[in-house]
Amino acid sequence: MLPAYESSVNDKAERALVDAEALLGMWAPFFNKPQPDTTTLAHGENPLIFPYAKRRIKLTGKGRPDGLDVSITADDLREAVQILIDADWGYLITITGLDLGPEEGAMEVLYHFAQGAAVVTLSVRIGRERETAVIPSICAIIPSASFFERELSEMLGITVRNTPNTDHLFLPDDWPAGVYPLRKEFMANTSTAEAKDS
């Protein structure tokens, strides 16, 4: 038996997740699952989505039916965000950029939304090259996402299409171009002088 308080938090989170599942229904096949194998994709769909073992993002805190993770393509991102915002479902906590490393040859961008204890994460898989590490900006929908998008572009070298501001937010103005500290190739103890030479 859960304490009354815990179960009420639990119920609220579960209801919020049911709402989110309904809202994002068109991506239901990709709930807590990887995107399909490239061979099953129709012609013209994003070839960057490789089959990979999608794990479920766990949550801390009591009253936590585990959150909802939705794999979507970069093209669908704005639509999905718009749906959540229009329905007033939660708020954007932050955007996490993830370099999966040169072997995997991909990066992932995670958009975390929370309503109460429930967390919905939209994950977009993109490439690591200049032409493929591209996502659309969501600043037109959520203006406060600008800081997060600036962080993505300076730390991971992701091009955020149509983002209002691409100036450095955290890194110095004289930081060498093309060096992205959160990429796996960048070693933690590199000095700026070494980074410039690389």
Partner: protein, 400 residues
Amino acid sequence: MTAVITPKKEKFIVPIGPQHPALKEPGHFEFAVDGEIVTDATVRLGYVHRGIEKGTEARTWTQNLYLVERICGICSHIHALTYALGVEVLAEVEAPPRAQAIRVLVAELERIHSHLLWFGVAAHEAGFDTLFMYSWRDRETIMDILEALTGNRVNYSANVLGGVKFDVTDAQRKVILEGINFLEERTHHYLNVVTTDSMFLQRTRGIGVTRLQDAQRLGIVGPTARASGVMRDVRVDAPYAAYVNFPIHMVVETAGDLEARFIVRLKELFESFRLIREILDNLPPGDLQVKRFPRRIKPGEVISRVEAPRGEVFYYIRSTGSENPDRVKVRTPTLCNMASVLSLSIGHHLADIPMLLVGIDPCFSCNDRGVAICTSDGGHDSWTWERLRQFGIDYYANKV
């Protein structure tokens, strides 16, 4: 006297910083002004960026506990707690109930210290230095309690993965209760001052009003959001550690101005006092730590959210099964609230800017998280960890 005439099209920009106008921390702001009125604002951060997110990837799970604790000097416990809670979920280990209660106890003591610190700084910015000195004098009470309990005034290092380091003795319990009683009385006085002192109200009432919709649109968090009527507090929404056994009541105001932000933070102190007494009276028996905590952690990802004094702290932690994390993403509350200052400042007098800025209780270390050293010839260089460590050893060796 010759007047400088600026054509309407050109902007007159007042740079403020990098020495921050409110707290003694670095951030650079540029305000475009028309006379005294601000028309546009931009911010440049990163002056104290230490590359901690990258640093976590080169350290073990345990070493990182000490690293993340140093993200912020004021809410150090919160960072260690958020990290520990997340890693424990990944390792499928749960800290014992007594440890969880002590974590909450330290978190609430830290909140009192943080809010009182902010209160003093805010009073100073309003030109009310007497209030600043009184509140910082009183803050020493809480610092002494924290030192008695943990051995440190800041960076308490209370957490280990899978529990806490210390217990609360009867003598400590007595010291805490005495200190809390004194501070509660003082907080009543402060609440009375900020809601009645007419000079002070001129700096706060009706200034920097953020309406509910704007607070939501700008993604504001923490007491700043609650002062605008946003019902959001991770301690209530998604109770972690022992908050499920020791529930907190959310403090919400609707006015959305600076005065409301003072009231929310001061009223939160009463909640903290109440909760601390409740925990001390009902501390669950049992162990302080789990017996064993794995060195390697199974592959997986976790989101950990905690309510820091300034608002929601968010950690995303990813393990690939090794001794080091693959990625630790930290989102601190100041980053969210910074955007609100920029948009709020438009239409206000330049003289109100320090107060607006201090109203969100900005914390730049949290924001920035890298070691950059300016060399004497004006160049910049980043030191490696080894070099910094060697510098420390040599410095103290030569000193003796």
